[in-house]
């Protein structure tokens, strides 16, 4: 074959591979969209400033490495000789991350069927739906890998720095974990769809995703609380209770752990298994995903439903009306309710702790004060975003003959009442043990929720409720302010619960966070 013929053949192959409608062409399209999404995430929709992004990355990276050093630094000298106790600890930690990844992957896969976006365009085009869905599943695997690396890379770097380069096999484990979780998520979503149909799958998947993401950590904490009286998973992994039930060091169960500690053969087995778990369902199911998407487009949510009250038209104040509207809208939207309330799953260990130490001293209840305060801050922020920024009929509310101040007061009350109602069972439980502790916790809950609500008011930016998930990227300052204020109030609650006057210090920090947030709020917002 002449050089010219070879060049022509290469050019033809390249053209075929990158031709419109080809795998690479779709991959390029998806890559471009993903890159723009990532830019949006990093800039919050603002202007792209390369230097700022690099500085942010460096600061974040350093912060993550410092945290990683604190968490895993002391394990850097671990080798394959650690045996069952070490393998148990590594596998337990790996599973914590694994289930988090699985939760994210399940949510992304479900979004494949329900996101309208460009699916109509693809469906109306002669392009292969099977191909586009296969590419999108791969894109999910890539994004899950990125998430796995964000979590694992700082730890791997720290371990490699202090323990040796064999820890870099952890990168392979991270990629394998992402592939496995994507494959499992695809299978789970498909099973849910075939079993429950298009109308219920989205909600079921949402709930499954939240449960999968939190079940392992909550389960481990629950076992730890009930068996050895601690919240710490690492203490549980090292306890006789667990180790007595674990297999020997040469068991197949420890393959990922051994791979992480530098065993080449175990790494190959893990990666191969991961590839099979991803490729098999992708090959078998990608042809059906287009059908799922078409089915979701035909879902009818309507039908006669029960009204929020049998007496719709009745004399009521605009305040009550607005509050009731907020609660009804939240109650009727299972997706939003699950998004907002699923974080309460993390209160289960707190509830267990309360139950476990119910008859014990006041000291055991102290741990509840920061946990509940922190959760209230986060929940209050989410509900406040829905009430303030996620108003679906802003023009109606703005043109109603009710002053903006009254609107806001009504919405703040709606949020605080909802938060209090959710935390009431905990408060009653604590009150029966110690009224002063209940007072501290109730104050912490209200103040943290109120602070988050204020931040959401100052940083409000009109958006559709369905973009609830994006609220944290639309204003990262608000997100950080909300988190810092919740943490500071939680510290204040913990210190006050310890009967120390030093609670004033974190309370002042929380106030400073609020003052800072108020001063840098967008001027158009309030």
């Amino acid at each position: 074959m002449t050089d010219a013929t070879t060049a022509a053949a290469t050019a033809a192959t390249t053209a075929a591979l990158t031709a419109p409608g080809s795998w690479l062409w779709f991959a390029r399209h998806e890559g471009r969209l993903a890159w723009r999404d990532l830019r949006y995430l990093m800039t919050g929709g603002g202007r792209w400033r390369g230097r700022n992004v690099i500085i942010t990355f460096i600061v974040l990276g350093l912060g993550l490495h410092l945290i990683a050093f604190g968490v895993v630094g002391r394990h850097a000298k671990m080798t394959l000789e650690v045996g069952t106790p070490g393998f148990t600890s590594i596998t337990g930690s790996f599973l914590l991350i694994f289930f988090l990844l699985l939760s994210q992957a399940l949510e992304q896969v479900t979004r494949l069927f329900y996101g309208r976006g460009d699916l109509d365009l693809f469906r109306s085009s002669p392009a292969s739906l099977r191909r586009i869905f296969a590419i999108r599943v791969l894109a999910i695997a890539v994004s899950t890998t990125m998430m796995a690396l964000v979590i694992a890379l700082p730890a791997i770097n720290v371990l490699a720095l202090f323990g040796g380069p064999h820890w870099f096999t952890g990168l392979g484990i991270a990629v394998a974990a992402a592939a496995i979780t994507t494959g499992i998520a695809l299978t789970m979503a498909s099973v849910l769809f075939d079993t429950l149909g298009p109308k219920r799958t989205r909600f079921a998947s949402q709930v499954a995703s939240a449960i999968v993401g939190s079940a392992f950590i909550i389960g481990i904490q629950a076992v730890a609380i009930l068996s050895i009286g601690t919240l710490s998973p690492s203490t549980l992994f090292g306890s006789d209770l667990v180790l007595a039930r674990m297999p020997d060091a040469d068991s197949a169960l420890w393959i990922p752990a051994r791979a992480l500690l530098g065993s080449g053969p175990d790494l190959v087995i893990t990666v191969l298994a991961a590839a099979i778990v991803l490729i098999v369902p992708m090959t078998l199911l990608s042809g059906r995903l287009g059908g799922y998407a078409i089915a979701t487009a035909s879902v009818h949510h309507g039908g006669n439903r029960r009204a929020w009250s049998t007496r719709l038209f009745r004399t009521t104040s605009s305040r009550q009306l607005l509050q009731r509207k907020e609660w009804v809208l939240l109650f009727r939207d299972p997706w939003l309710a699950s998004q907002t309330l699923m974080q309460l799953l993390y209160l289960i260990p707190a509830a267990l702790l309360l139950w476990r130490f119910y008859g014990d001293s006041r000291g055991a209840l102290i741990v509840l004060a920061p946990v509940l305060t922190m959760a209230a801050g986060q929940l209050g922020g989410g509900l406040a975003w829905l009430a303030v920024s996620g108003e679906d009929a802003p023009d109606l509310i703005a043109t109603a003959p009710v002053s903006p101040r009254r609107h806001l007061v009504a919405k703040v009350e709606a949020v605080l009442i909802a938060v209090l109602a959710i935390f009431a069972p905990f408060l009653i439980g604590i009150f029966s043990r110690s009224w002063s502790m209940a007072l501290i916790v109730a104050t912490g809950i209200l103040v943290a929720a109120f602070s988050s609500t204020l931040i959401q008011i100052w940083f409000r930016s009109q958006a559709r409720r369905r973009y609830f998930r994006r609220r944290q990227t639309s204003s990262r300052i608000a997100t950080f302010a909300e988190a810092f204020s919740s943490v500071a109030w939680a510290s204040a609650a913990a210190t006050a619960a310890n009967e120390s006057w030093f609670w004033i210090a974190p309370a002042i920090v929380a106030m400073l966070v609020l003052v800072g947030a108020y001063n840098i709020r967008p001027r158009t917002a309030s």
Binding site: H301, R332, T399, P401
Partner: protein
């Protein structure tokens, strides 16, 4: 009728709003009670910004807005009590049914519950929404959503109805229903101000037409008066509009 017209439903003076450039630039407008007024203009002329400021959705940088003698900037709540607003993108609550939505709106405007109940039932019947009165709005077409939004705008018996492109995306039957509803309100003494790109609507329905360009009112009057201003007779509103707007365009 003429006596009524001596009362201004809306009086706007020196209205100004600047974004990157002046969106509304010293606009003066006067609409009489019981009048059907259409505000026309090319894209970006400042029609929606003007109406949003009148409806209290946006704060002007300068100028005054008076609705039936009420200073809408000084006492917005009093002005809103007698005004309603409908935008081109019907913003209603997906998770509420039309009846629940109307009950909510009636409550916001502080209506007597018995009156609101009766009024809502009539409106739902009239706008052919009765079969869907208890379905949630999430599956409604744009036309149905626009009808729900219009019912919300009419339920509290406003004296001034402001509509921004209310017929966009509606089918012929829905558009006719909306037009009939608005004309009926005008016959009852209500004032209607709307923007539209469908010039035929303005031509057939509006008693007076204002043409706005670059944030300023460049012509105003009945169709006949506009024809005279544009120097063309026996031409359609479309021709008149294009002539008037072209005169404002800078020389190429």
């Amino acid at each position: 009728m003429n006596m009524e017209r001596t009362v201004s439903a809306l009086r706007v003076t020196g209205l100004r709003k600047i974004f990157q450039r002046p969106a509304v630039d010293g606009l003066d407008l006067k609409v009489g009670q019981g009048e059907f007024y259409a505000l026309l203009g090319p894209n970006g002329a400042g029609k929606t910004t003007t109406l949003r400021m009148v409806a209290g959705l946006m704060q002007p940088d300068a100028g005054t807005v008076s609705i039936f003698g009420i200073d809408a900037l000084a006492d917005p709540v009093a002005a809103k009590r007698i005004t309603s607003w409908v935008s081109d993108e019907p913003m209603i609550y997906d998770k509420l049914s039309p009846t629940e939505y109307l009950a909510f709106v009636a409550g916001l405007w502080g209506m007597d519950p018995a009156v609101a109940d009766k009024k809502s039932a009539d409106l739902l019947e009239w706008l052919e929404l009765k079969p869907h009165a208890h379905e949630r709005c999430e599956d409604f077409s744009k036309g149905m959503r626009q009808k729900v939004a219009l019912a919300g705008a009419l339920v509290h018996e406003p004296k001034l109805i402001i509509l921004d492109e209310p017929l966009t995306g509606l089918d012929a039957r829905a558009a006719r229903l909306v037009k009939d509803a608005l004309l009926a309100r005008v016959r009852q003494g209500c004032t209607v101000i709307l923007t539209t790109h469908i010039l035929e609507v303005a031509e057939r329905m509006a008693e007076r037409i204002g043409v706005i360009s670059r944030g300023r009112l460049i012509a105003e009057g009945t169709l006949e008066e506009l024809r005279k201003q544009s120097g063309s007779s026996n031409t359609s509103l479309e021709d008149v509009f294009l002539t008037l707007v072209a005169e404002q365009e800078p020389a190429q």
